[in-house]
């Protein structure tokens, strides 16, 4: 790439090197398009730097330390000490390895990498301001553009992130010493994952949530399983309360919450994590200059080819709307790139799985029973409790279940809800079943290795058909 004030050209310009953007860029380049990827901060975006990857690294470590310290049942006696600096340095290594990998993969696939902040200068041109003073800027003209600028943590009034006392997920993931106490505002998946990490590491965790259970949006039995276990490891919950203000009291934060009726409570904590959702980043690149529209929340609406209202400009990932998940971003990036290359690609997937890496894990895909009803199906439901799984018991896990939802008529698999060990992995088989248009009998007929948790997938389908072996058919 020529750098300076000379204007260069590219077939496909990708803005943002998160999962959506780097996938789009690699795929576009694989398909023979001259591709340029502009990133202002770090390769891998939110996901690799301050999202999926660092959170899962901390979860692994916290889980190992906690499990080893609570395994007397198995005859294991240990009192693990966790050194947070060591943990952070391992987490950093994992992140570096993966972000370095993304950069290498981009280069190996022939993607032109440009560091800087891109801003539209008309519908076929961006200006890239290079970071740092006196670094200048450059103009890049493009045939097509893929916007993948992601999202950022949402703020609430009076709780500006200082990343010292009032933390976003980014700050919480970077803590170099363990707080004695942590108040978490928001019991969504990010709040619950991080609450679990700190509770398992030994912090006193209190969670405040406006709604009446954890994991809003999930079914009641799923939420209950996660909340119960969280309570078991010592997390304290206060539902139907919203955080309204805070003040420093000595070294700690005194947070005030309010119920709908205006009742207030106060909680003291060393740190406060606000995890109430994420907002699209659609304000860093002057979308109007290109004529690209956003909705009232700032998301960029797109069609089933990932195209915005401007035909040659695409939007993928968090900036293009819910669900804000890395694998949805990657799929959209892939499709956008293929459409740019003239391939008959479309976002015609039947289901996007979603996982919550709490203890127990949660994973869902496709329709719940209620959603299947709403869609006009007559749902046939099958369930298998983890406590009846030989594999689960040998893993010292008893919590959770696998539930499958099918259409009673055709017995096509419509969805699944999983709570328990490796839920995030087990959901893959259901997702393939849904994409393939598989029937319950196909899942039941498939031989599943013994002893595995995957047998529960098969058993849930058998249960729906009234032919389960390892659980009663009712």
């Amino acid at each position: 790439m020529v750098v300076g004030d000379i204007s260069t050209g590219t077939d496909v310009l990708v803005v943002g090197a998160g999962p959506g953007g780097y996938t789009a860029a690699i795929r576009a380049s694989q398909l023979g398009l001259d591709t340029t990827l502009v990133e202002k901060d770090a390769y891998g975006g939110t996901c690799l730097n301050v999202g999926c990857i660092p959170s899962k690294a901390l979860i692994t470590a916290a889980d190992l330390a906690y499990t080893a310290g609570h395994a007397e049942e198995m005859g294991i006696h240990a009192d693990p000490a966790v050194d947070m600096m060591g943990l952070q340095s391992w987490k950093g290594d994992v992140v570096d390895q993966l972000t370095g990998g993304v950069e290498k993969l981009c280069k190996a696939n022939g993607v032109n990498l440009v560091e800087g902040t891109a801003e539209f200068d008309g519908p076929n041109k961006v200006r890239v301001a290079h970071g740092g003073e006196g670094q200048g800027s450059e103009s890049i003209e493009f045939e097509r553009c893929i916007v993948s600028t992601g999202s950022r943590p949402m703020q609430i009034p009076n709780f500006e992130f200082d990343e010292e006392t009032i933390l976003s997920s980014t700050g919480a993931l970077a803590l170099e010493s363990l707080p004695d106490s942590l108040l978490v505002v928001g019991a969504g998946y990010i709040g619950m994952e991080l609450s679990t990490v700190f509770a398992k590491l030994g912090t006193d965790v209190t969670v405040v949530e406006m709604l009446d259970d954890v994991l809003p949006g999930y079914e009641a039995d799923v939420a209950r399983a996660v909340r119960k276990r969280a309570e078991d490891i010592g997390i304290e919950f206060h539902f139907s309360e919203g955080a309204s203000d805070w003040e420093p009291v000595g070294d700690i934060a005194r947070v005030t919450t309010e119920t709908e009726d205006g009742e207030t409570s106060e909680y003291d904590a060393e740190k406060v994590l606000v995890a109430v959702g994420r907002s699209p980043v659609s304000d860093t690149l002057d979308l109007e200059a290109a004529g690209v529209e956003t909705d009232e929340k700032g998301f960029v609406p797109t069609d089933d080819r990932a195209r915005t209202n401007v035909e040659h400009i695409f939007a993928v990932g968090d900036v293009a709307g819910e669900p804000m998940l890395a694998h949805k971003a990657m799929k959209e990036g892939e499709v956008a790139a293929e459409v740019c290359a003239g391939e008959p690609s479309a976002l015609d997937y039947q289901a996007i799985p979603a996982a919550v890496f709490t203890d127990p894990e949660v994973a869902t895909v496709g329709m719940t029973q209620a959603e299947a009803e709403d869609a006009g199906f007559d749902p046939l439901v099958g369930k298998f409790p983890m406590r009846a799984s030989g594999r689960a018991l040998t893993l010292a896990e008893h919590e959770g279940f696998v539930r499958v939802v099918a259409d009673a008529d055709s017995e096509f698999v419509l969805g699944a809800q999983i709570v328990g060990p490796e839920a995030s992995e087990l959901v893959a088989e259901f997702t393939l079943a849904i994409e393939m248009g598989a029937q319950l009998a196909d899942v039941v007929s498939t031989i599943h290795t013994h002893p595995t948790l995957g047998e529960a997938v098969m058993e849930s389908a058998a249960n729906a058909r009234g032919e389960a072996i390892h659980t009663l058919n009712r």
Partner: protein, 72 residues
């Protein structure tokens, strides 16, 4: 005889069959599947492309359906 592959927001056909339908400009949601439960196979898609190449198919190619409005 068979039901159309699309019901309740779902299309009952493998991804490879769905992609083939786009390649052949066939609107898969109108194809009657011969598979179990009405699942559409690649053969069904090819048959639809050969028999009804003019009907639903041509428009489908023009304006790909935004079956799902993908906006938050």
């Amino acid at each position: 005889e068979a039901e159309p592959s699309a019901r309740g927001g779902r299309v009952f056909a493998a991804p490879s069959a769905r992609r083939l339908a786009r390649e052949l400009d066939v609107d898969i949601t109108t194809v009657a599947g011969s598979g179990p439960g009405g699942r559409v196979s690649e053969a069904d898609v090819r048959a639809a492309a050969e028999s009804g190449g003019d009907e639903g198919a041509a428009e489908a190619a023009e304006a790909p359906k935004s079956a799902v409005k993908r906006v938050s």
